[in-house]
């Protein structure tokens, strides 16, 4: 068994864990981050993509709104390249209680969320596809944030400060010595190898899985996994984040992010964070709500649907709350020494991606206290790798980068404009045979054809690289197709149904992939 020693072991490679690892490494602590799958493959990679202004919470959960305000500003600075400055609108649509708008304005003022009312005509000029029957519109600094870019940038920064990042390493047990957690046993799920880590402090940042990890140390942490579904529409129906101006509910936000726009979300308690199926009823509900924001929404092409699981924690009444949206969106830091008499273990859970940096800061403050060191947090001062020049991501970037000689390179993924060179670089850099890892890195196969035209090309390129054998490459193809299919089959109607047919002819008819599965 391989063994590692470190000051801090961080469990979970979502935005929270990556943020903690970066913060700890920047404060000079020896840091190891472990993630059972790929980075941002948990809730962070399945969220809605909204960098909250705080507007959503101003009435329902003012503390959460207050947290968003400075964090929004900080992330725009340090993670500029991960963020598209779309701005956000809160609009009162016909079914919404018009009285909420005043509460909303008062809430913004009380919590410090910057807000400006726009004349309806101006809002409609900015967003021509918006429901023309809106009665009020408010502009707030919402933005779109790319989860993979953000988490990877944090990880790279942490690595630059000496941290080790172990993906596909699953924590199978925490190691206790008396009242103290002293490390963890890991399984490398790619090689089957076991790895032991000794750590002075263990940070449990495993999101909706935090209860499972805490239980390994004998601590009882009740996480209510709250499932939410989202549907990505084929193109940007809007260019600004659109929120309904009403008490937060289901399907009331449309986020333009990268090449798509995403409608969401729902909130349903599920017993197991690894089982979050999408139901037909939820899909219909999203499409209906979409129709309220953008008339004709149902005619637009849906690309894919998926679910994420909120890590919601409530100490006082475990198991009693049925509507998980009533639980505060603010985070919770549990010091298990104080709470359960178990030393050396902290759990950071709840919160949201918008506040991940703050969550990391308070967590690492507590880690330092445990270790008896005093080092200030600097994560709000130093930009993430790739964001140093302060320029935000913009939608046309990939298109622009292919000018002025567009035909000079082969494009592998046509929908997301990924060239062969980019793909090969990513395969080399990630040292992976998993096409889904590449998808998260490059958005491979995330466009309208959902891999129909690029995945067989990518498989061939993968196969030619570093002696990846045919069986491995084919296996990767099959699991990619399987994964995409999961997201497509609940929304098979209209244009996407036609696409699925063509893709099916390609893979079953021409390539006979069924044979590969034997």
């Amino acid at each position: 068994m391989a063994a590692l020693q470190t000051d801090v072991l961080v469990i979970g490679g979502g935005s929270t864990g990556a943020g903690v690892a970066r913060d700890a490494a920047m404060r000079g602590l020896g840091t190891v981050l472990v993630e059972r799958r790929d980075l941002a493959d948990g809730t962070t990679g399945r969220f809605h993509g909204l960098l909250h202004s705080g507007g959503r919470y101003v009435v329902k959960d003012p503390p959460a709104a207050r947290e968003c305000v400075p964090e929004n500003a900080i992330l725009r600075r340090i993670a500029a390249d991960c963020i598209e400055d779309t701005g956000g609108l809160f609009v009162t649509t016909p079914p919404d209680d018009p009285a909420y708008a005043e509460q909303f304005l008062a809430g913004c003022r009380a919590t410090g969320v910057p807000v400006e009312e726009l004349p309806v005509g101006e809002a409609l000029q900015r967003e021509p596809r918006l429901n023309p029957r809106i009665s009020r519109a408010f502009l707030v600094p919402d933005a779109a944030i790319d989860p993979w870019k953000t988490v990877w940038a944090c990880a790279r920064s942490a690595q630059a400060y000496g941290a080790r990042i172990l993906t596909y390493h699953r924590v199978v047990d925490l190691v206790r010595s008396g009242d103290r957690v002293v490390g963890a046993r890991l399984a490398n799920d790619l090689t089957g190898e076991e790895v032991g880590v000794e750590a002075a402090v263990v940070v449990n940042a495993s999101g909706a899985w935090a209860g499972q990890i805490a239980r390994m140390a004998g601590c009882d942490v009740e996480i209510q996994p709250g499932k939410g579904i989202m549907i990505a529409m084929n193109h940007r129906l809007v260019q600004t984040v659109i929120n309904r101006c009403k008490m937060p509910a289901d399907g009331d936000i449309l986020v333009p992010i990268r090449t798509v726009s995403v409608i969401g979300t729902t909130d349903v308690r599920v017993p197991d964070p690894d089982e979050a199926p999408v139901t037909q009823g939820e899909v219909e509900q999203m499409l209906d709500e979409g129709e309220v924001l953008v008339p004709g929404f149902r005619r637009a092409r849906a690309l894919r649907v998926w679910a994420g699981v909120r890590p919601l924690f409530q100490e006082t009444k475990p198991g009693l709350v049925s509507d998980t949206r009533d639980v505060s969106r603010s985070h919770t830091l549990l010091d298990h020494a104080r709470r359960d008499g178990v030393e050396g273990l902290l759990t950071i859970t709840g919160g949201k991606t918008t506040t991940f940096r703050l969550m990391a800061e308070v967590t690492v403050d507590a880690v330092c206290e445990h270790l008896g060191v005093k080092r200030p947090c600097r994560t709000h001062e130093e930009s993430l790798p790739g964001s140093q020049d302060g320029g935000h991501y913009w939608l046309g970037a990939r298109l622009a980068s292919r000018e002025p000689v567009p035909r000079s390179e082969q494009i592998v993924c046509e929908c997301e404009l990924i060239t062969r060179r980019k793909l090969e670089e990513a395969i080399d850099r990630r040292r992976t045979v998993n096409l889904d890892d590449i998808r998260r890195t490059l958005r491979l196969g995330m466009g309208p054809c959902q891999g129909g035209f690029c995945i067989y090309r990518a498989t061939g390129i993968l196969h030619a690289r570093h002696g990846v054998d045919a069986e491995t490459a084919n296996g990767s193809l099959l699991s990619f197709l399987q994964e995409r299919w999961k997201g497509v089959h609940p929304i098979l109607y209209g244009d996407q149904l036609r696409q699925a047919h063509l893709d099916d002819w390609i893979f079953q008819g021409v390539l006979n992939v069924r044979e590969l599965a034997r």
């Binding site: 021509p128 596809r129 084929n234 193109h235 940007r236 260019q239 333009p256 090449t259 798509v260 004709g296 005619r299 637009a300 092409r301 913009w394 939608l395 046309g396 970037a397 990939r398 298109l399 622009a400 292919r402 000018e403 002025p404 000689v405 567009p406 035909r407 046509e414 929908c415 404009l417 466009g447 309208p448 054809c449 129909g452 035209f453 244009d495 036609r498 696409q499 063509l502």
Partner: protein, 399 residues
């Protein structure tokens, strides 16, 4: 709300449009209809279009015609091009070639001089250097008179069985007034009173050169004129691209929201479409004399965009002894003003080569084609004179 943009959702990436686009085959600078249309459109946000290569789309519309899923590719490109120019500013050259009604009015009174100058080597060289209009490209000759002046003077026959309003377009007015005269005489021969309102440009060249605001103004002004003409009678046109503008493009691509335009769009007909309609109802005179000529016919891209088949073929087939050859090459390469431009002239000639070869193989006396710019290009590429189908009908009637 843009219905054109929404059609990008129908794309299944089948690549059929790519295999038909004559321009992406002719130059590596143009990445093709699927790329610049439904694909690139997903990357066009609030900053306009960052892909300059889209300007190499000619707007010929072939991609839209062949797409089995109904993606309005050429229209998406056209709208994106307008955004591109809105940001970069429209070059002077594009502004000039986009205003045939202005250049026509300026050139007509000084036609001999203008024609001489436009054919002189040093002048063409200067035009190329200053404006980027290729010195080899086919420029029309000013006729030195206008069709409007002829129409003003003309007194048609008193007795008429019906009325049509005639939309002649800029080229007929300034460069080929004789084609307009043929149209009027031919319609009168078939018993119609022909109303010719004073009219301006439809805005199409402005649209294809990316100046949408100006194009909208021209289109609306023309729609108002035509709406008032002929009391709801059919509007007939011999310019297939300008009539397509009225029928569809101004509404779809420019998104002109105008009741008069909607009314006009519903009563506008290509002249061959109109005549074939008469024939189908048994109302067309068929007293044609034999014309023993070999005439290859090219249906221009914009004509095909009407979705009316090729009525000229059926009409010309009525002429005894005419040896009609249907050409199936996609495009002559001129695409309005595309082939005039220095950076595009050679592409345009490469595109046209297949058509030119077909024309040469037919050993023709004349060629027939419905669009004026295409006729100039075909003559430029083959040396064979090219006429509008109405010219042949007019001759066969012996008018």
């Amino acid at each position: 709300m843009s219905s054109v943009r929404e059609t990008l959702d129908h794309c299944v990436k089948c690549t059929i449009c790519e295999t038909f686009c004559p321009y992406s085959k002719a130059t590596p600078l143009f990445p093709g209809p699927k790329y610049v249309g439904p694909q690139a459109e997903r990357f066009r946000g609030t900053e306009g279009s960052p892909d300059y290569s889209l300007d190499y789309c000619s707007g010929c519309g072939i991609c839209t015609q062949v797409c089995p899923q109904g993606v309005k590719i050429a229209e998406i490109n056209s709208q994106a091009r307008a955004e591109l120019w809105e940001e970069r500013g429209i070059p002077l050259r594009n502004r000039i070639v986009a205003r045939p009604s202005v250049t026509g009015a300026l050139g007509t009174p000084v036609a001999p001089l203008a024609n001489l100058t436009l054919r002189a080597r040093p002048a063409r060289w200067a035009l190329e250097r200053t404006l980027g209009i290729d010195r080899r490209a086919p420029l029309p000759r000013f006729a030195g008179r206008t069709f409007q002046a002829w129409a003003r003077r003309r007194r048609g026959p008193q007795a008429a069985s019906g009325t049509v309003a005639y939309f002649h377009g800029c080229s007929t007015n300034y460069y080929e007034p004789e084609t307009g005269e043929r149209v009027v005489e031919l319609l009168e021969h078939n018993g119609f009173r022909v109303v010719v309102p004073r009219q301006g440009c439809c805005g199409l060249p402005l649209q294809s050169n990316g100046d949408f605001p100006a194009a909208r103004r021209y289109a609306s002004r023309l729609a108002a004129t035509l709406d008032a003409a002929g009391e709801g009678a059919p509007i007939v046109s011999n310019s297939t691209s300008c009539s397509l503008m009225l029928k569809r493009e101004a509404l779809e691509i420019l998104e002109v929201d105008d009741e008069a335009l909607r009314r006009v769009s519903e009563r506008t007909y290509d002249v061959c479409e109109f005549l074939l309609g008469l024939h189908e109802r048994g109302e067309l005179r068929t007293d044609f004399q034999p014309l023993p000529l070999t005439v290859p016919y090219h249906a221009p891209c914009q004509q095909r965009g009407h979705g009316i088949g090729k009525p000229a073929l059926d009409l010309l087939a009525l002429i005894p002894e005419l040896r009609l050859v249907e050409l199936d090459a996609a495009c002559c390469g001129i695409a309005g003003t595309y082939g005039l431009k220095r950076e595009k002239y050679e592409i345009s000639m490469r595109v046209g080569e297949e058509l030119f070869a077909q024309v040469r193989d037919a050993e023709p006396d004349l060629t027939a084609c419905d669009s004026e710019t295409c006729r100039w290009q075909i003559t430029h590429g083959t040396g064979v004179p090219s006429v509008h189908p109405v010219e042949l009908l007019h001759r066969a009637y012996g008018l």
